[in-house]
C-alpha cells in the first residue's frame, strides 16, 4: 500500500508523456492564460499591443485578426530552419523574439524581445502550440458571427460556432482576393 502510494507520488512529480489536448480551449486555459495573460500583459484588462490571451474568445480573436497562426514572420526574423509552424508569429515571439513582427497589425515597427517577457515558456508548451498549428489550429480558424471567411487558397467558407472553417462556399473569381485566412471575405471575391 505504502509502496503503491510512493510510486504514485513519484510518477506525479516526474510527469509523463505528452498527451494533452491540442485545441484552442485547452491551450488557452492551461497555457496561455497563466503564462501570457497576466494582468499587465495580454489580459483583457490591459491588452498590450492589442493582444489578449486570457480567455478562449479573446485568444481566438487575437490569433485570427492578427494573423498570428498563418503568417510567417514578415521580415527581419528570418526562418528558423525548423519544422512547419515554427515561423508563425506566435511561435517566433515565444522562441526568439524579433523585430517588426507586429508590423502587420500595428501599422508600424516595434522591436521586441522573446515573450513572455518576464519568464520563458516551457519548450513542451511551445511544441504543443506548434503541433496544434500544424494540425490546423482547431478553434482558431475563424471568428464566429462574421459571415463567410477566407480559407487558404483564395476560397471562402462558413465559420462554425467553435471557430473552425465549415462548409465550402465558393472559390473567388478574382485572383488573390481572399488571402487573409479566417477573416471576412472581401467584396472583390
Amino acid at each position: 500500500m505504502f509502496r503503491t502510494a510512493l510510486l504514485l507520488v513519484a510518477a506525479a512529480a516526474c510527469g509523463g508523456a505528452e498527451d494533452r489536448p491540442k485545441n484552442l480551449t485547452y491551450i488557452t486555459e492551461a497555457i496561455l492564460q497563466p503564462t501570457c495573460g497576466a494582468a499587465e500583459c495580454h489580459s483583457q484588462y490591459t491588452q498590450q499591443v492589442g493582444d489578449e490571451y486570457d480567455t478562449v474568445e479573446s485568444a481566438r480573436r487575437t490569433f485570427v485578426s492578427h494573423f498570428q497562426l498563418t503568417t510567417p514572420d514578415p521580415n527581419n526574423c528570418g526562418p528558423s530552419n525548423g519544422t512547419v509552424g515554427q515561423d508563425t508569429m506566435i511561435v517566433t515571439a515565444l522562441t526568439r523574439g524579433c523585430a517588426s513582427y507586429l508590423g502587420t497589425t500595428q501599422n508600424g515597427k516595434l522591436a521586441i524581445v522573446r515573450m513572455p517577457y518576464d519568464a520563458p515558456m516551457p519548450s513542451e508548451d511551445i511544441q504543443l502550440i506548434v503541433d496544434w498549428i500544424n494540425a490546423g489550429a482547431s478553434g482558431a480558424q475563424c471568428i464566429p458571427g462574421q459571415g463567410d471567411v477566407c480559407g487558404h487558397n483564395n476560397d471562402a467558407y462558413t465559420c462554425d460556432d467553435d471557430g473552425n472553417l465549415g462548409v465550402f462556399v465558393r472559390l473567388c473569381t478574382t485572383a488573390n482576393a481572399c488571402t487573409l485566412p479566417g477573416n471576412p471575405v472581401p467584396s472583390s471575391c
Partner: protein, 369 residues
C-alpha cells in the same frame, strides 16, 4: 541598444505594479494584520499602531503620520498612499534595461462607529485602444462593518470591490503563490466577505463575481476560504480553499500555509503550498502544483532580507512544464516613509535540465504618503 531600453520600458509591465503589506511582520512582530492595518486583509492604510511601527522599524525614524502630520485630519477620516517605481535589468534572454512606475495609490477611509467606507484610487496600466478612459481607476472600494468599532479583532463584514483573503498574501506579486495561486495582481473584484480575527486565530470567507463594470483580470465567479490558527506565539498553521468557474474552465484550489518565527537569529519562515485541480471544458483536467517558501531575516533595524524559493507545475502529469525560482529581496526602511528594495530573481524551466531560464535585478523605490 536604445530601442531595447525604450521597448523594455513599454513591455516590462509584467514586472511592474503594486505591492501589498508585508506578511513578514506577522508572527515576528505582531500576531495579526489588523494590529497595523485597518483592513482585515492587511495592506493599504495603517492604523495608529501601524504608523508608530513604521517609525520604529525604520533606520532614521521621522514622523510616521500621513504627510508627516503636516495637517490634522478629523478623527473619522484616514488618508494615505503609496508611490513606487523601479529600474533595473531584465534577461529575457535578451539583455534589457527597464524602468517603470509601479504604483500610485491613494487611500481614504471614512468611518462612523463600526461602519466604514474604504476607497483606493490611482494610476493603472491603460487598456490598449481605450487609453483615455483607463489611466485611472479605483482598485478597491468597499463598505465594512466591524463588530469592535475601536478594536482590531472580532467580526468583520465587507461588501464591495477588494481582493479575497487567501493564503499568505506575499507582498511581491510575482511570487508564485500570488502569480499562479489565485491572487494574481489586480484580481480584486466585487464580493462579500465575512471574516473573524482573534489574536489566536482568524477565518475569512469570501464570495466573489466577475467585475461587470470593466474589462477585468478576474474572469471567474467563485468563493474562497482561509483559516489560520496560531499554535504558539511563534508558529501558525493555515488551510485554504477556493472554487471559481467560468464558461470554459473551473478551478478547485486547496492548500496549506505555515509560519515559524525563530527568535534568536530573528528569522521568519513562511510556506504556502497548493494543489490545483483545473478542469477544462471537454478536455479533462490539469493537476497543478504551486508552492513558495520564504525565509526573512531581520538583519538590523531598518534592514530586512527575504530569500524565496518558488515552484509551479502547470501539469504534474506532463514532464518538463515545471518552473522554479530563487528570489532575493533586500529591504532598506530608511525612514518612516521611504523604503528602498533590491529585487532579484533567477528562474528555471525544469530545474537541472538546461532548459531556458530568466532573471531580473530591479531597484525599487517606495514612498508612503
Amino acid at each position: 541598444m536604445l530601442s531595447r531600453i525604450v521597448i523594455a520600458a513599454a513591455a516590462v509591465a509584467a514586472l511592474a505594479a503594486r505591492a501589498d503589506a508585508y506578511p513578514q511582520y506577522q508572527m515576528s512582530r505582531e500576531q495579526t494584520c489588523t494590529a497595523c492595518h485597518t483592513s482585515p486583509a492587511g495592506g493599504g492604510l495603517l492604523n495608529e499602531n501601524g504608523t508608530a511601527f513604521a517609525e520604529t522599524m525604520s533606520q532614521f525614524g521621522t514622523p510616521p503620520e500621513f504627510m508627516y502630520a503636516a495637517f490634522k485630519l478629523p478623527s473619522w477620516l484616514l488618508l494615505g498612499g503609496d508611490l513606487r517605481g523601479f529600474a533595473g535589468f531584465d534577461r529575457t534572454p535578451q539583455d534589457v534595461l527597464v524602468a517603470f512606475p509601479m504604483q500610485t495609490d491613494v487611500y481614504a477611509e471614512a468611518k462612523y462607529k463600526g461602519i466604514s467606507l474604504h476607497v483606493t484610487g490611482g494610476y493603472r496600466p491603460a487598456e490598449h485602444g481605450n487609453e483615455a478612459a483607463t489611466h485611472l481607476w479605483s482598485r478597491e472600494h468597499y463598505l465594512m462593518w466591524k463588530q469592535n468599532a475601536d478594536g482590531t479583532d472580532g467580526l468583520f463584514v465587507r461588501v464591495g470591490r477588494f481582493m479575497p483573503v487567501f493564503g499568505l498574501r506575499f507582498a511581491e506579486h510575482p511570487d508564485y503563490t500570488r502569480r499562479y495561486g489565485g491572487t494574481e495582481l489586480y484580481s480584486e473584484t466585487y464580493g462579500l466577505a465575512i471574516e473573524y480575527i482573534d489574536p489566536k486565530w482568524e477565518a475569512h470567507a469570501t464570495g466573489f463575481i466577475k467585475d461587470p463594470l470593466i474589462d477585468p483580470v478576474e474572469h471567474y465567479n467563485g468563493a474562497a476560504v482561509y483559516g489560520e490558527y496560531r499554535i504558539t506565539d511563534s508558529a501558525s498553521a493555515g488551510l485554504e480553499g477556493m472554487v471559481k468557474t467560468d464558461t470554459f474552465d473551473r478551478y478547485w484550489r486547496g492548500g496549506a500555509t505555515g509560519k515559524y518565527y525563530i527568535k534568536g537569529p530573528d528569522v521568519l519562515l513562511q510556506l504556502e503550498a497548493q494543489y490545483v485541480h483545473h478542469w477544462i471544458d471537454n478536455n479533462g483536467f490539469a493537476s497543478e502544483a504551486v508552492g513558495y517558501l520564504m525565509g526573512s531575516w531581520f538583519i538590523a533595524n531598518g534592514f530586512l532580507f527575504d530569500l524565496g524559493l518558488g515552484y509551479y507545475n502547470e501539469n504534474t502529469r506532463i514532464k518538463g512544464v515545471d518552473r522554479e525560482c530563487v528570489d532575493g529581496n533586500f529591504h532598506w526602511f530608511a525612514t518612516s516613509h521611504v523604503e528602498g528594495i533590491l529585487n532579484l530573481r533567477y528562474e528555471t524551466i525544469q530545474f537541472g535540465s538546461g532548459a531556458l531560464s530568466g532573471a531580473w535585478a530591479l531597484l525599487q523605490l517606495h514612498y508612503r504618503l
